[in-house]
């Protein structure tokens, strides 16, 4: 065990910190919103683009990417340090994260040279924003049953169908998208991976308002949308492989547990500040039990992330660690927010900037948002299926 980083890496951390102290936007409404920062106005979008450009100018965007594509081939340690510092300093997220984390690595691995040249630079600078077209109304947990059709017609595909839960579609410039190109093939074999210009005729985006009242995701309808054949990534009908083979070039193990830890710190701050039934919250033994239990679960995940990071540095495979992280972290985040509501009592449900709302009403919003995170990106039930089958070898059965 050795939890320290090398001198060089610690120097890098100091550089990042120094940079953040200079460049971090001061109290900026356009870039704040707790767990659920949504880009729901032109001001927010341009502020967020500006922030990504600032980070990019400093060389801190996609540092894990190969140098030829604009990265620095930074070590896993440095990626982790950078991500951790960003979260620790509560830096706004990067608006182009879907391009940076999903599409970019996919193109680097499976794209053509032309596709890389065309798309990668603007992903880095946030000049073009991407959304992800995977989920459909009839295919949630069972993604491979997707039905959106793309038929080759000369030099282009003609796309018809519907996507849903498409976050960022309302302002994205492009969508990377899974479509069915061979309806006769077994369901995993007839899927292709397309890049679709969101300004194409025949695309309609309808916002779906979340239970929090925010327009976070969308339905996207395709009616005879023409997509040039050159926008196919990988083999025709080989889209399932493309979507699943993408190696992450960004290591985020620490970032998500660091965020959880931060949420926990916020909860402890709240607990120290508030009184309940006339006495300080932190003096109530039952609440102390609950808080300590949460702290322990958070720290266990923190060390688990460090271990995963360390394993990866050593070249060990992660196994089902992504599923464990998703399952445990989302439920922890929600439990932390629920504990905050318990502490807040009648103040708990007060949202937004209403008078008397604590922490500008982020707790109730995050309490809902974190429930959404348990559901989204593979529900807890799906993660448990994955863990029981892949890690424990239990039969698929039913």
């Amino acid at each position: 065990m050795d939890l320290s980083f090398s001198k060089e890496d610690e120097k890098f951390r100091r550089e990042v910190r120094a940079w953040l102290r200079r460049h971090l936007p001061r109290r900026n409404d356009a870039l704040e919103g707790g767990e659920d920062l949504s880009y729901d106005s032109p001001e927010r979008i341009s502020a967020a683009k500006a922030w990504q450009r600032t980070v990019h100018d400093a060389g801190y965007v996609a540092i894990g990417w190969p140098k030829e594509f604009g990265g620095q081939e930074a070590s896993i340690e440095r990626q982790s340090i950078l991500n951790e510092e960003m979260v620790l300093h509560r830096a706004p997220g990067l608006i182009g994260h879907l391009g940076l984390r999903m599409l970019g690595p996919t193109l680097i691995q499976c794209g053509t040279e032309a596709q890389r040249r065309r798309f990668l630079p603007k992903i880095l600078t946030a000049d073009e924003l991407w959304c992800q077209g995977y989920s459909e109304p009839g295919s949630g947990s069972d993604l491979a049953s997707l039905k959106t059709r793309a038929e080759l017609d000369g030099d282009s595909f003609v796309v018809n169908g519907q996507k849903v839960w498409t976050s960022t579609a309302q302002y994205a410039d492009w969508m990377f998208c899974l479509v069915r190109t061979d309806p006769e093939a077994p369901k995993h074999r007839g899927i292709s991976y397309l890049l679709i210009d969101m300004k194409s005729p025949g695309i309609e985006v309808r916002p779906l308002v979340q239970m929090t009242g925010r327009a976070g995701f969308n339905e996207v309808f395709f009616t005879d949308v023409r997509v040039p054949r050159e926008n196919l990534v990988g083999e025709l009908h080989g889209g399932w492989t493309v979507a699943n083979s993408t190696l992450a070039f960004e290591r985020n193990m620490l970032a998500s547990t660091t965020r959880t830890q931060q949420l926990m710190d916020d909860l402890l701050g709240l607990a120290r500040r508030r009184t309940r039934n006339g006495s300080k919250v932190t003096r109530c033994p039952a609440t102390r039990q609950k808080l300590a239990d949460l702290v322990i679960r958070v720290e266990a995940m923190r060390y688990h992330s460090l271990q995963q990071l360390s394993d990866e540095i050593q070249g060990r495979r992660g196994g089902v660690s992504a599923s464990i992280n998703k399952l445990v972290t989302t439920e922890l985040n929600h439990d932390i927010c629920a504990a905050a509501l318990d502490i807040l009592g009648d103040y708990g449900p007060l949202m937004g900037r209403t008078p008397h709302a604590e922490d500008r009403g982020t707790w109730p919003k995050d309490w809902m948002f974190t429930l959404g995170m348990i559901i989204g990106g593979g529900t807890s039930q799906i993660q448990k299926n994955i863990i029981s089958e892949r890690a424990l070898g239990l039969p698929r059965g039913a």
Partner: protein
């Protein structure tokens, strides 16, 4: 030996359910929820026509003179349909408080109008400290010759935007104990009152901050004996617990129904998600909590006619239990719905939010568990 509703009460439940299914379907609830003021005078009028506003008003004052269990029957249905209407605030809480605390003259003055729905009232209890014990009432009312004057504020006042009369709990003597708490009935149009809406996420129920800026109160607005209002408030608290538990019972039943209905039709991997054991067991766990909680609720409602200690204990038991059960049920219901359950467009989030709002209103589960412990003598 009969544990359950009477034939009359079953009839009341069925007719309330039919009435609300017709008059308060999700579309109507949604309209009121999205309305700024959160009020539907038409719906309120129809509900008043049902006679519900006078359910707890003694017959001599033009009401039906029914009991808490009857009110619980109606509240279960209101909770099932999430009907945004001032039944709880006016017909249950304010009416209970006036019935037990007010003078005969005051009762004659207000109860008939409350019974008809012509007038609405609400109770202003909590302050910034958010405490339900006597120390929570700190707002000081000072005597100025034969009148009273008060300045300060109250929080979390239910339905204040539509109430015509505020029943205000305040201190007429220094201290933090039971003594010195008095009750005043203050008309909406009294000079110096201002309302600020609190943006709570449960939009089926609106809460307000009330500010009193040197409001002058006449002697005849004092309800009950000066300084002796605490026992009345405590009795009303018990009724509030039962009432909110009843709403939660109906809401939990409906939230589970929604999940089950959805699970029967929504398909994944080629079969209804309701055929997956994980979903089945989530639903079964909810059901196995909801069924016994109904019995507990009925008992608690019935116990309000009896000795005050058992009435308090039973009320807190029901409030604590239904608080947990309703929240847990709606959480699972949202999860069974998957992504669609997280959208504003689908209705289930209204129950999810109402569950949390019911859970904290008039004391959360931990407050009431501690109260049960104290009342049990350990």
């Amino acid at each position: 030996m009969h544990f359950g509703l009477t034939a009359d009460q079953e009839l009341l439940a069925a007719s309330a359910r039919d009435f609300l299914a017709a008059e308060s379907p999700p579309a109507t609830v949604r309209r009121i929820v999205e309305d700024d003021a959160g009020v539907s005078p038409e719906l309120n009028a129809k509900i008043a026509q049902q006679g519900w506003q006078g359910m707890l008003v003694p017959e001599e004052y033009g009401g039906q003179g029914l009991g808490v269990l009857d009110a619980a029957v109606v509240l279960t249905e209101l909770g099932r349909f999430l009907t945004p209407t001032p039944f709880l605030s006016s017909a249950v809480l304010a009416t209970t408080l006036l019935s037990i605390a007010a003078s005969a003259a005051q009762r004659r003055r207000w109860l008939p109008r409350l019974a008809s729905g012509e007038m609405l009232a609400t109770v202003a209890w909590l302050e910034e400290s958010d405490r339900l014990d006597p120390a929570g009432i700190a707002l000081r009312v000072r005597r100025a010759r034969d009148r009273f004057r008060l300045s300060g504020s109250k929080l979390f006042v239910l339905d204040a935007q539509m109430a015509d009369l505020y029943l205000l709990a305040a201190r007429t003597a220094a201290g933090q104990g039971r003594d010195g708490v008095s009750l005043f009935a203050i008309p909406r149009d009294a000079t110096g009152i201002s309302l600020t809406p609190l943006h709570n996420f449960d939009r089926t129920r609106r809460l307000f901050e009330m500010r009193f800026d040197d409001v002058v109160v006449d002697r005849d607005q004092l309800v009950g004996r000066e300084g002796k209002a605490w026992p009345h408030l405590e009795r009303m608290l018990n009724v509030a617990c039962v009432a909110i538990a009843a709403e939660s019972q109906g809401g939990a039943e409906r939230a589970l129904e929604l999940a089950v209905e959805y699970a029967k039709v929504r398909e994944q991997f080629g079969r209804p998600i309701g055929s997956f054991q994980a979903v089945k067991h989530l639903a079964a766990e909810c059901f196995a909590e909801i069924e016994p909680s109904r019995s507990l609720l009925w008992y608690a409602a019935w116990a309000q006619q009896g000795a005050s200690k058992e009435a308090s204990r039973a009320a807190s038991m029901a409030k604590a239990r239904l608080g947990d059960v309703y929240s847990r049920t709606t959480n699972k219901s949202v999860q069974i719905h998957g992504g669609i359950g997280f959208t504003w467009e689908h209705d289930v989030h209204f129950w999810f939010k109402r569950a949390k709002s019911n859970e904290v209103l008039f004391g959360g589960p931990d407050f009431h568990r501690e109260r049960v412990a104290a009342l049990s003598g350990w």
